[in-house]
């Protein structure tokens, strides 16, 4: 609060004492927890029970405070100004006789509610103080300093009976019988597979060649695999012949089957 600022405020012509008082109030603004808190502080100057407080007088005090703050170019937070506007409205309602047929709550009701809010805030302040004044754990009374931890043992007991075991095995064995195909799949060459293969190979078969030469590697040793792949490839070339993609010939019964690409 140095001189330059005082110069700025010169025109206000505040007596130093007034200014000190005003500044004391302003400096405190930071300490207020909102307009309700400020109102509660202002109400203490009335030195009456909060239930008998004069809301009109309080409104005037508050408005005077806000005016002083704006004169001192203190920026008040918006909620202080909202409260000021509401109090100004309330003040006018309290001073003027009620309009006949006016809707909404009466000025007295609004004033009573404000008084209630102040009283409730005051009560909570006192309650908070009494709460904090209580003996507290870790300050006035203490818990066991050397607690013995409870060992928590979580045991999961899995149960299965011999019958469960038998059922499980029976289930597996039954499953085997119903899907031997799945079990033996690695010995089976399907016609679809053969057709796919032949489609790729036939491009190179311009001359007559034995069907057996087309069998895939590794499918000619194991008899079961040989039979499966031969049958699959035979079915495949029949299908291809039907489509006009290959020619098939056989010299005599049981002679080698020969194929070649059919020229378009």
């Amino acid at each position: 609060m140095s001189d330059p600022i005082a110069d700025d405020w010169g025109e206000e012509r505040l007596a130093p004492a007034d200014r000190m008082a005003a500044e004391a109030l302003i400096v405190d603004v930071d300490g207020y927890e909102g307009p309700l808190d400020l109102l509660l502080m202002l109400s203490r100057t009335q030195k009456v029970d909060l239930r008998r407080i004069s809301v009109l007088e309080l409104a005037e005090q508050y408005l005077a405070f806000v005016n002083r703050a704006s004169a001192l170019r203190i920026e008040l937070a918006a909620d202080y100004l909202v409260m000021a506007a509401w109090l100004a409205f309330l003040k006018s309602r309290l001073l003027l006789p009620p309009e006949p047929g006016a809707e909404g709550p009466s000025a007295e009701e609004l004033a009573a509610h404000l008084a209630f809010q102040l009283e409730r805030l005051q009560a909570m302040r006192e309650a908070a103080a009494r709460l904090m004044a209580r003996d507290q754990l870790g300050r006035d009374f203490f818990a066991r300093g050397l607690p013995e931890d409870v060992t928590r043992l979580r045991k999961i007991d899995y149960s299965a009976t011999l019958l469960d075991l038998m059922r499980a095995y029976a289930r597996i064995r039954t499953k085997d019988d119903f899907r031997p195909f799945v079990m033996d799949r690695n010995h089976v060459f399907t016609m679809e597979q053969a057709l796919e293969r032949m489609r790729g190979l036939i491009g190179y078969a311009g001359e007559w060649a034995d069907l057996t030469s087309f069998l895939p590697d590794g499918w000619d040793v194991n008899p079961m695999r040989r039979r499966s792949s031969t049958a699959a490839h035979f079915a495949a070339i029949l299908e291809m012949a039907k489509r006009g993609q290959v020619e098939v010939r056989q010299g005599e019964t049981f002679a080698p089957i020969q194929i070649r690409r059919k020229e378009p």
Partner: protein, 216 residues
Amino acid sequence: MTDRAEPIEKSLFEAPPMAEQERMAEAILFASAEPVTVAELAARMPHGCDPAEALAHLRRRYVGRGVNLVRVGDAWAMRTAADLGHLMRKETVEQRKLSRAAIETLAIVAYHQPVTRAEIEEIRGVAVSRGTIDQLMELDWIRLGRRRMTPGRPVTFVVTEHFLDHFGLESARDLPGVKELRAAGLLDNRPLPGAMQKPDEEDDETSAGQSELFED
């Protein structure tokens, strides 16, 4: 190891004598720094025990002693007698200084629970910062309660058992001056009359809040 000569377990289905049950409750409570519920005691003591009666005996036994048996909500704990706190300076835990906002918010939650953030703000006349709520939650003094069944379904806050333990309260009913405050209507969530009131929310919130207050 022990000075007792008698065996504890008598039979599989007969509960141990009450003196023995009292010893058991004593051992369990001494071993725990946290309050122990009657249900937990029952689960840990042999079948057929009556933990509530054992606790009653135990409480009487520790009246006037250096440690006392105290009730904390639904649970029980052994705590040193408050008049001996000065001897325990060494054990004192440095407590974080709470802001005025935090202390007031805590009191409002305790006395008005379950309470929404909007209600706290209405009582204090100022916004409640996120940090204040967080701090109280971190201290495990308040926690989320049930959502209010009003538009927006706002969350509510209630105090915890840890709060009761910290302030040596048996229940929220034992908060200092709570009866007087309620009698004076100061715990009412009185709505703002008329114009200041939000259309229909306020009424529901109030009635719901009050019916739930100190429901336990």
